[in-house]
């Protein structure tokens, strides 16, 4: 296992995306455990991307600054015609060629839509197995890896062994704090502070078929608080009773600067649109406060709020599963409690 660990980085407006930073943390600990392998951060971009500094997209500017802090040995910009946008198969082809050129021992990506898709293509191209949604990985002998991964979107953990000359891994973006692998804070490369890792270029050989599927991105959606990033989410479930019952929750969410999220029952009934669903098949939220009203707390739902800081439940049933997952609970009908809470917040504001 002498070759490098490759870590695919996705960027957002502020540099390396949060999920990719988590992937970098796991990749760093893997590289250390594999006997001090290099950790190469991999980003994709259009031709010449590695020379662009200070312009958008700022591949060679923002990425290395973040990457150095995560203990990255070097940054490899995979660039070429057709790579200005997201092209899942072409990205996987680039990684396949990079694995071969550098004898990489592992490829790690965040378990986002893009990361999961690229790693799955890479598995299909190379014939290698993939371990998705990992939260911990360590070497276990020649061409073997011991790992913990999420099943049921994190409601169940699987201990597994991956037998592969190159481990293809995605990293869960929302592991529970107690389960997570903290990035190795004292790793050698992280300690030299401001010095940025070197940036190099890799030009993959791509054909038209590799670029057949590529994303056209339309303009950003209208601004406003998004469910995924909201600081406060007021949740409504079956107990809300029908579509009209959400007015009070909307009002409360507005007062708290948050948004309304709902359970799967609510979207299956057509009471609210699916984009408001919190859960395994909806949006994963990470608010400071999740106020879950009339929600029983099925694991399908709780998988969507594993990383909520504080959960407060309002429920008529003291034995509902949500009561054993929440920090605080009010036992009662949300149709009494929520209007009273709204009135109290308004009264406090008026006095």
């Amino acid at each position: 296992m002498s070759g490098p660990v490759l870590c695919l980085l996705e960027r957002d407006g502020e540099g390396v995306a949060a999920g990719s930073l988590r992937a970098l943390g796991l990749a760093r600990s893997l590289a250390d455990a594999a006997g001090g392998s290099q950790l190469t951060a991999v980003v994709f971009g259009p031709p010449g991307a590695e020379h662009v500094v200070g312009a958008e997209p700022v591949v060679a500017d923002t990425v290395p600054a973040d990457a150095a802090a995560a203990g990255v040995s070097d940054v490899c910009v995979v660039s070429g015609e057709g790579l200005s946008g997201y092209a899942p198969l072409a990205w996987a082809r680039g990684l396949e060629q990079l694995i071969a050129a550098e004898q990489a021992c592992a490829v790690v990506a965040a378990a986002t839509d893009h990361g999961s898709e690229v790693i799955a293509h890479l598995g299909a191209l190379t014939g290698l197995p993939v371990a998705a949604n990992c939260i911990a990985v360590s070497p276990a002998g020649a061409d073997s890896w011991q790992l913990v991964r999420q099943r049921w979107a994190g409601s169940v953990l699987e201990d597994a062994v991956l037998d592969a000359p190159c481990a293809l891994l995605t990293v869960a973006t929302d592991a529970l704090p107690g389960d997570a692998v903290a990035p190795e804070s004292g790793s050698p490369a992280a300690s030299d502070g401001a010095s940025r890792p070197p940036v190099r270029m890799f030009g993959p050989v791509l054909d038209d078929a590799d670029l057949q599927v590529c994303a056209t991105e339309s303009a950003e959606q209208s601004a406003g608080v998004s469910l995924a990033t909201a600081r406060v989410v007021v949740g409504g479930g079956r107990g809300v009773g029908g579509p009209e019952g959400f007015a009070a929750l909307e009002e409360l969410a507005g007062l708290l600067g948050g948004v309304v999220g709902v359970s799967r029952v609510v979207t299956s009934q057509g009471w609210r649109p699916h984009r408001q669903q919190v859960g395994q098949t909806g949006t994963k939220i990470s608010p400071e406060l999740y106020l879950a009203c009339g929600i029983s707390g099925a694991i399908q739902h709780m998988a969507g709020c594993l990383t909520a800081k504080h959960i407060v439940a309002v429920n008529t049933d003291p034995d509902a599963p949500i009561i054993s997952r929440a920090e605080y609970a009010v036992i009662g009908d949300l149709n009494e409690v929520i209007p009273a809470l709204v009135a109290a917040i308004r009264a406090a504001g008026d006095s």
């Binding site: 995306a17 293509h121 049921w152 994303a215 098949t281 400071e288 029983s296 036992i331 009662g332 504001g349």
Partner: protein, 269 residues
């Protein structure tokens, strides 16, 4: 158009998930089975396409003989034909499963299935890869995580949201598409649909198992998922306590934050 939809039988878990004593499976003694939610939407999408423009929907699953129940559930939603890739009950990994599906597509006769639909990921194992591996085995393009699907004659236009922006893909058919819940709202099965499903003949094929490279050692439920909430009170009487907790968490609007040591008179700043 003839559409193939691949679904997976998974335990129907409610408020709690329990692992069997040997740590190998989710305990299903107290629960039924269902198909993964994304896949139910894939079947609904396929049925809608054939309702609009003709053709047929074939539903395929890989699993033990009992998985025929899930095929029938999907037939009740309007699918036309059912296929069971029968296994001996052990868990098949994504490599073995996708190889079996690609093999079955050839076995199912001359119908080339210009469109093969999957759910984005299985509810239980969450491997995120069977659809993509099948696409590679069949030499087809593939898009995943799709929430909007539109057929355009020779191909299809597919869309999804990613990081708050809309991504659009244009893909030639034959193609493989995996969808996510929210692409549609699946119908409830009709009574005639259920009766038809009950009587339907299901084609059974027996594929070859193969090792995956990812070996399950055991399953466990994360320890941190069993606490018990501190009850703040009953009904509207609990609101003052609730206000105090929201204030401590720091989510009350600044003017509404009770000032410390004022006896909760709600004095505004």
């Amino acid at each position: 158009m003839d559409i193939l939809v691949c679904v997976k039988r998974v335990p129907m878990v409610g408020g709690k998930v329990v692992v069997t004593a040997d740590g190998q499976e989710v305990d299903t003694r107290m629960s039924g089975f269902t198909v993964s939610p994304h896949e139910e939407c894939a079947v609904e999408e396929a049925v809608r396409i054939t309702e609009r423009s003709g053709g047929s929907v074939t539903v395929l699953t890989l699993g033990p003989p009992e998985a025929a129940d899930q095929v029938r559930e999907m037939l009740a939603l309007g699918a036309h034909r059912g296929v069971l890739l029968e296994t001996d009950g052990r868990e098949w990994g994504p490599v073995a499963t996708s190889a079996a599906i690609a093999w079955a597509v050839g076995e199912l006769g001359p119908t080339p299935f210009p469109l093969i639909l999957f759910g984005n990921e299985a509810a239980d194992t969450g491997g995120y890869q069977v659809g993509i591996r099948v696409a590679h085995a069949l030499g087809r393009p593939c898009v995943t995580g799709i929430k909007r699907l539109e057929l355009t004659g020779e191909g299809l236009r597919a869309g999804r949201e990613y990081r708050g922006a809309q991504e659009e893909f244009e893909v030639a058919m034959p193609a493989v598409v995996s969808v996510k819940e929210g692409i549609n709202l699946p119908r409830y099965p009709s009574l005639p649909g259920r009766l038809r499903a009950k009587r339907a003949q299901i084609t059974v094929l027996r594929p070859q198992w193969q090792a995956d490279g990812l070996r399950k050692v055991g399953l466990r439920v994360p320890a941190s998922s069993a606490t018990r909430a501190q009850v703040l009170g009953q009904g509207a009487d609990a609101v003052p306590e609730l206000m105090r907790v929201l204030g401590e968490i720091g989510v009350l609007p600044s003017v509404a934050r009770p000032r410390a040591g004022t006896g909760g008179d709600g004095a505004a700043a």
